[in-house]
Amino acid sequence: MTPGSESNHVLKKKALFNFSLFFIFFIFYLVSACIQTPTFKDVASIPALGLPLGVLLSLLVFPVSWVIMIIWFWRAK
């Protein structure tokens, strides 16, 4: 493997990892937001852990972000 192709490989691996983590976050974030709209209010009202599902998912955006961040720092070492 030449130095150029090696750096390409490293860049692709890094891009795949970073964009994958971002994609996971973004989908979770988008779904949580959409559930909180009138179109999906029936789903959002389902009780889960003492809270409506929509509220629970919305509040989970915070810890999910922190977990993704920890994974990213841990794997990026």
Partner: protein, 572 residues
């Protein structure tokens, strides 16, 4: 140095004099403890002046002015970034909005919070490795074409102005509502204060002031939420949510004058029950749809917030102030944790407003449009008074000032850097010395401050809260796709970057024109223009970027080298 000090003292006198006059005129009418509020505000003014004096001693070059010499520790930049992002809307508006509309408004807090993940995962590290003074400079370092600088400079000025004017207007309105101070004098005073610490202390003074303001704001929120949680919420979060199911949203209860009169003098718990008995079929504060419009509008808003944060020039230039890419990432991580805790507290505080000050919220809203504004902006301060007395209320008001100052200063130095470095140095005087460039930056700061004050005064009667959302929409559409592709995709071409930036700008301008001409309810392909240009702007900009990249060849002077620099291994 002595000259600087003389100027600072003179400006301090100019700034404080109107405040004292205003205090004297507002004392009779205000319900707030005016001397304490003024004491806290003067404390901030003095702290800012001392920090500015201290940092001005080390400001010798353009690098010191623009990026604080690139040697600021990551902890300080992380805290400053938090301060720069937390505007008065975050401190007062997020909880206040929940207090007015109920559950629908929790996404105001979550939406703002989510933006930093894109910054952390996709932008911070590589952008710091490229290193520059401005966002335009970073993009241009790959393609070496002045037209790119011009396009991005234009975006920077538009985005920052859209963001800055609501801050100034919010400050003026806040003090007018709170203390009956003169709107124009307040905005002029704030504009002057920011000019002082940007002109004399540059980025370092801005950063350190943002650190102080962020710590104060964060501390205020921590004390407030702790007291409210135990005094009003009795230490049980789920119980507060259960109670919210019974609450008639103040926006609805406030429109029923019989309810308003019946609950005016009742304690909050009882008022909630009476309102529900009188309006048994009304929606509750946990009902979805009291405020939120269409799902598509929500998606557009979310897209604008996530990708817009990663394209906001006043956030991105902060990465140039830390010594390494690893430090940049750590600063964003700190910011994400601090923002998360802050916005989570804002959401909880919003729901605690019901058992805390429900009759007051309903009474405010019964006053019409002005009352809704009062409820949104004053609810947190009223809650501060309820749980901590006049001292906490005064601290809360000072916290709002801190939020406005830290955000506005970041925006103003961004515009100053961009105009002097990307416009003056490139198009007007290529041979400009560092001294000339610095002078232009300082003149731009003064001009920007004057423009922001004038626009705030001119637009005072307008509901311009959506300007901030538009700023996010433009940043998401015009800056993010070009920035992300430049940093990650070797085949991105110079022409594609320009086309992408211009497409994002054009889509945003179309939305702005339609907003003014047809109103927020007007729809384009099912998307209400009130949802902002985020969704269409990002998609259009990304598609144009990919197509033009495929059709053209100019990928920059040496894309391999650029990528190697941008993605070099992290070192501390």
């Amino acid at each position: 140095m002595l000259n600087y000090l003389r100027h600072l003292i003179l400006l301090l006198v100019v700034l404080i004099a109107p405040l004292q006059v205003l205090a004297a005129t507002g004392q009779e009418e205000a319900t707030l403890n005016i001397p304490i509020v003024i004491g806290f505000i003067l404390f901030f003014v003095l702290v800012s002046i001392v920090i500015t004096w201290w940092t001005s001693r080390s400001m010798k070059s353009t690098s010191d002015f623009y990026v604080a010499g690139k040697g600021v520790p990551w902890v300080q930049v992380g805290i400053a970034m938090t301060g720069s992002y937390l505007s008065a809307a975050s401190f007062l508006g997020c909880a206040g909005d929940i207090g007015v509309y109920g559950l629908d408004s929790i996404w105001l807090s979550i939406g703002f919070f989510g933006g930093y993940m894109a910054v952390l995962l996709l932008i911070a590290g590589p952008l710091r490795n490229i290193g520059s003074f401005t966002v335009a400079g970073a993009l241009n370092s790959r393609y070496n074409d002045d037209r790119i600088k011009l396009c991005v400079m234009l975006c920077t000025v538009i985005i920052s102005t859209f963001y800055l004017v609501p801050q100034m207007l919010g400050a003026g309105l806040l003090f007018e509502l709170l203390l009956h101070w003169n709107f124009v004098w307040v905005t002029i005073g704030l504009g002057l204060l920011m000019c002082i610490y940007i002109i004399f202390g540059g980025m370092k003074a801005t950063l350190y002031n943002q650190v102080v303001q962020a710590l104060f704001l964060w501390g205020t929120m921590a004390v407030l939420i702790t007291l409210a949680f135990f005094k009003v919420g009795h230490g049980n979060f789920l119980q507060v949510f259960d109670m919210a199911k019974e609450v008639v949203p103040p926006l609805l209860a406030g429109q029923n004058m019989e309810v308003v009169e019946a609950i005016r003098n009742l304690p909050p718990d009882q008022a909630i029950q009476v309102a529900r008995q009188m309006m048994p079929d009304a929606q509750s504060a946990m009902t979805i749809g009291v405020k939120t419009s269409s799902t598509l509008a929500m998606i557009s808003t979310v897209v604008a917030l996530v990708f817009g944060t990663a394209g906001l020039p006043h956030i991105l230039i902060m990465f140039f102030t830390v010594p390494s890419a690893r430090a940049a990432k750590k600063s964003v991580a700190l910011c994400i944790v601090a923002l998360g805790l802050f916005y989570l507290a804002a959401i909880i505080l919003g729901f605690l407003l019901f058992p805390g000050i429900y009759p007051k919220l309903v009474t405010w809203i019964s006053q019409g449009t002005l009352g809704v504004g009062l409820a949104k902006n004053m609810a947190v301060l009223e809650m501060s008074f309820r749980v901590g007395g006049t001292w906490l209320m005064a601290i809360g008001a000072a916290g709002a000032v801190a939020a406005i100052l830290s955000t506005s200063a970041g925006l103003m130095i961004t515009v100053a850097s961009s105009v002097s470095h990307d416009l003056y140095k490139v198009y007007i005087n290529r041979n400009a010395s560092e001294k000339q460039e610095l002078r232009i930056a300082k003149i731009t700061t003064l001009a920007m401050s004057a423009i922001a004050v004038c626009l705030a005064v001119f637009l005072k009667g307008e509901n311009i809260a959506w300007l901030v959302m538009l700023a996010f929409g433009i940043a998401a559409s015009a800056v993010f796709p070009a920035m992300c592709a430049t940093l990650w995709w070797k085949h991105t071409t110079k022409q594609a970057v320009m086309a992408s930036v211009l497409t994002g700008l054009i889509v945003s301008v179309i939305f702005i024109v339609l907003l003014f001409a047809k109103g927020a309810g007007y729809t384009i392909i099912g998307l209400p223009v009130g949802g902002g240009p985020g969704l269409f702007g990002v998609i259009a900009s990304a598609i144009v970027l990919i197509i033009v990249s495929v059709l053209t060849k100019d990928t920059g002077d040496d894309p391999e080298k650029f990528m190697a620099i941008a993605h070099q291994p992290d070192t501390d």
